[in-house]
Structures are given as C-alpha cells and as structure tokens.
Amino acid sequence: MLLDLRVSFFLALRGILRGSRGSLYLTVLIIAMVFTNMIFMPSIILGFIKVAEDQIITYQTGNILISPHEDELYIEDVFSLLEKINRIPGVLRASAHYGTGVTLRYKGNSLGSTVVAIKPDDERLVTDVYRKMADGDYLADGENDEIIIGIQTSGHKDESLDMGPTLGYLKAGDPVTVEYTNGVRKVYHVKGIIETGSYYADQGAYITWDELESVFGRKVDYATDIIIKTDPDSYEPEVKTQIYRFGIREKVQTWQDILEEAMGRAVQNFAMLNSITIVVSLIIAIVVLFIVIMIKTLNSRRQIGVLKALGVEKSIIIHNYVFQVLILTTLGIIVGTTLVESMVAILTVYPFQFPDGEVTPVVATSDLINNTIMLYIASFIAGYIPAWRVASEDILTAMRS
C-alpha cells in the first residue's frame, strides 16, 4: 500500500511539474481565489463583530452592565452600591449613569436626544470616551453648566459625514439649549465634542452628576445603569457571579450577554451568509478541480489503458490524480493564505469605514484550519471521481480511445 502510494505520488509530482504550466498556474489561482473567498468573508464579519465588541466595552457599557431590576425604573441607593461593587475582586471601577430624554436646541435646530449624567472621575476609569475629544475638553467632577456632545449630534463641518439629523455643526465654546422633561430649560456651554467612531457613543451628550442634581434641585441617589470595568486578567462571567454573590439583585450582564442580545440575530445572519459563501466556494472548487482532472484523465485515457496493461494497479492511477489535486490544492491554499494575509495587512492600514467604526478583517486560526480541511475534502472528491471513472474502464476500451 505504502509502495503504491509512493509510486502514485511520484507520478503525480511528475505530472504536475512536467505538465502544462498554464493549466497549473490557472488552477492554483482559481483554488487560491476560492480559498481567499472562503476566508475573507468570515474575516470581515469577525472584524465587524470585533469592532462591535471593542466599542461596547470601550465606549458604552464597560465589561459589565448593571441595569435596574425588571420591575423597577432605577437602581436605588446607587452610591453605596458603587462602593460595594468597587470592592468586588476583579472589578477595577464602577461608574453610575443617569440617562434622561431631552431636547437640544442650537441656532434654530432642535433634536431629541439623551443626556447622560456621569461622575467624570469614575467614568475616566471605565470608558475611553475622554480620550476621544475631537474638540474642547472632557468634563471634570463638580462642573456645572457644561456639556459634552457626540459629533453625530453636534454635526460635522462637512454635512455629508453626518449619519442623521444634527444640530448643525456645534463646536466647543458654543451655547446649546437643553430642555428637560421636568420643564427645566437651560443653556449650556459646550465644553467638548466627542468623536469615538462608535455611532452609539457619538450620539450621546454628557453632563456631570452635580449638574443633574442642580437640574432636579435635589440629591440624586439612583441611576439608570452602572457600567463596570474589570481587571484585564479576570473573566467577566466569573465577576458577574461574584457580583450576584455580593447580594446585588439588579440585572447584571457581561458585554458578551449584551452583544448576544443586541447582535445575536445579526451574528446568526452573518453565520448563515458565511456558510452560503463557503458552500458556493466549495462547489466552485469541486467543479473546477473536477473539470481539470476530468480533462486530464480523458486526455490520458489511452495512457491509463497502457499503464494498466503494463500491470499498474487501478488504485495507483486513481491516487496519482488524487495526489495531483491535493498538491494543486496545497499550492492554492498557500497562495490563498498569502493573498488573505496581504489583504489583511493592507486593510489594517486602510480599514473599511462602517457607521460603527473602522473594520479590519480578523482571520481566525480556526477558520483557516476548518476551511483548509473542507477544501482538501472537496478536492479529494473532485479528483477521485473522474480518476475512478476513467481508471475503471476496460483496458482495451481505454487503449483504443
């Protein structure tokens, strides 16, 4: 058996090295394209999901989000709760949010939005929004009459970059009027403009907790949510369990839970799209390789008949063509991987621009391995069937062809 395989490999290698160069290059190129197609689409989807993950963690919810219990509107006694949470192992910092609906007005433009009250010193330790000031500065604890606004609400100088209605190019230092649902109407000084690249974060507006209390005219010891940054070495689901163990009865979600809730359906659709792409690619690979080997074997029918007449086993002839296909596939995968890696390198420098940020393809090793295995199986089938058909012919029929 081993000897037969050795002879098959010998014939396959000679067949490829001394066969038509043009056919070899074209076949390898097609397999490389198929492989690239199989890898590239999932890498974009994975990149997209990665961006969503990063943005959720970095600009929106931190690693863990605590929301009010389902029967309640607010998280009560929030500051003692924050102290408790900050003591939990694995928690780096927790920050309370109070979000309220408002109407923003600037030079005749008005826009419904949400203003979120934060403790800036806590927030800096949880999100990276403070690093993303396109204009002006971030808030500081205790500041009143100041507001920072996301660029998708303030508006770009170039309107074509706006993804929805805006206030019409509001800049740091400009006045903006905020109307609260309790009837308070107040003019704020815009301290800064946020531009994170995350559409969600860039739509928001932030004031300090002290400002919120001045608007409400009382102490506010309740929040609409708490966001938590965890230690990079800790595992969020474990921290979530720890939080529950500390007797917190609010709804606790890790970023994975939130992503699943927000994007679960989208991820499923992406996965389906991905499967369709892979199936189509595999069919193309099978058809191409089938045709290549079919043509090779049909052109070599007489040759195959002669080899059988000389005493060469049918299995050696079949394995010869199967090896040829596997060698072509290997070359195709090598070229394809090089192409994918080159494209990833280019797209890392010049990423795709999506509303939710810059997407860079992410090639998962598991995708590379799985698709390589699938392509090898497809190639095996595509090489085996035509080789088997011709090699199974009667010697004289083959020799007379």
Partner: protein, 237 residues
C-alpha cells in the same frame, strides 16, 4: 510456455455479433519468437490481447507458465502482467511526463525493487539498446525508433517470461523497423526470450522462428516462415 485451447472471442456490438476468434488452439514454447500474421480483421490483435491478459476469451482456456489464467481475479491478472509479462505497443505509449529512465523503471518501482537496483537495471538495459546517453530525455526529444527502443527496454527491464509486441514497427520507417526487429531477435537469441509479435508486414517473417497466420479468426497456417513468402519478402526488402 503458452497453451491456448479452443479460444473464442465474440463481440456483441448492438445488433451485430462479431466472431473475432473461432476456436484457436496453440502452444508456444519457451524461447520461441512467434509472429502472428494475417490480414486486417483476421483476429491477430485479439489473439495477442487474450494471450497477454488484456482481454478475456468468450470461451476457451489459456495457460501461461503453468497457470490457468481463468482462475485469476482482476487484481491477480494485473500482478501477473506486471511480474511475468512484457508489452510493446504500436505507438510506443511512453508516459509523456516521464524521462526515458523513469519510463523504463516505473514498473520496477511498482514491483518494489530497490532504487539502486532498478537504476542499475535501467542503465544496463538502456546501454544495451544504445540509449544510455538519453536517460533524462523526454519522449518528444527522441525519434520514433528510439521511442520504440525505450518501450522495449521498459518491457524487458523486469525480465518477463513472455514479451508481447503489437505491430511494434507499424509507425516506423523501414530502417528503424529493422533496428527494432534486430533488437527483438538479439533479445530472443541471447536471453532465450519468448516473444509473440503481431505484424502485417511479410518481410518481418525472416525474423520469426514460427509464423501463425490467421484468417477470419482461425489459424490457417502454423509453422516456420514459408519459403515462398520469405523469398517474396526478400525481394520486397
């Protein structure tokens, strides 16, 4: 030794039935150089294919080297061809992707001969037929006569019990044909090689020890080359 008894081969071609061989019996001794001759359609190639295990008779028995080949399954027939028979075809049938030496030692590789041994054997046989300087050449770098000599080397490298040749000179000019036939004769004499060769050229008879002439699927003559045909052949030559 080859023993064939009452060989019949019938081809069913749709509504037509063709009787290619009708009860052919013969015995070929070891070391004989036998020519099978006859007009086109007389059944000479069919007989060679049956004796060479490339086809199966509709009826009849073939014994090669003491083995009744009817008892062999397909795999055993393949092994039998590989180990005990050699073939030379009309159009040389060299593997185009292989060099001269690779074409010659391919069947030795399959037989499991060691690399050193099959390379030595290959060089030896190619040297014998005067092509040892063409080891790494490809088939398209050789003349027709040279290709046929390589095909003979390929058939002979494993020292087969019987060498079958199906019109090996059909595509060659007369000089190349003579060279090939001289080589066959040399192999036959020096190595006591049994050779069964199909030919339709009368002048080839002078090389054969024995000529079997077929007509309509039956043997009409079997014996040493007829004198009158040899004379005719010499005139032609």
């Amino acid at each position: 030794m080859i023993i064939a008894e009452n060989l019949t081969r019938v081809y069913d071609m749709g509504k037509v039935t063709v009787h290619a061989l009708r009860g052919v019996s013969l015995t070929i001794q070891k070391g004989e150089f036998v020519g099978i001759m006859g007009a086109s359609g007389s059944g000479k190639s069919t007989l060679l294919h049956l004796l060479g295990l490339l086809d199966k008779p509709t009826e009849g028995k073939i014994v090669l080297g003491g083995i009744d080949v009817r008892t062999l399954n397909e795999r055993q027939r393949t092994r039998f061809r590989l180990k005990r028979l050699g073939y030379v075809f009309q159009d040389y049938a060299l593997v185009p992707e292989l060099t001269v030496e690779e074409n010659v030692y391919l069947t030795s590789m399959i037989r499991g001969t060691s690399k050193e041994e099959y390379q030595a054997q290959t060089f030896q046989i190619l040297d014998r037929i005067g092509l040892s300087d063409r080891l790494t050449h490809k088939h398209n770098e050789l003349s027709g006569g040279q290709q046929q000599r390589v095909a003979i080397a390929r058939a002979m490298v494993n020292k087969p019990e019987i060498l079958f040749a199906d019109e090996p000179c059909a595509n060659l000019d007369s000089e190349s044909s003579r060279n090939v036939l001289d080589l066959f004769k040399q192999i036959n004499k020096e190595m006591a090689q049994t050779i069964v060769m199909v030919s339709h050229e009368d002048w080839h008879m002078e090389y054969f020890d024995r000529v079997i002439i077929l007509r309509d699927g039956q043997i009409v003559s079997d014996g040493p080359p007829p004198e009158e045909l040899l004379e005719k052949a010499c005139k032609y030559k």
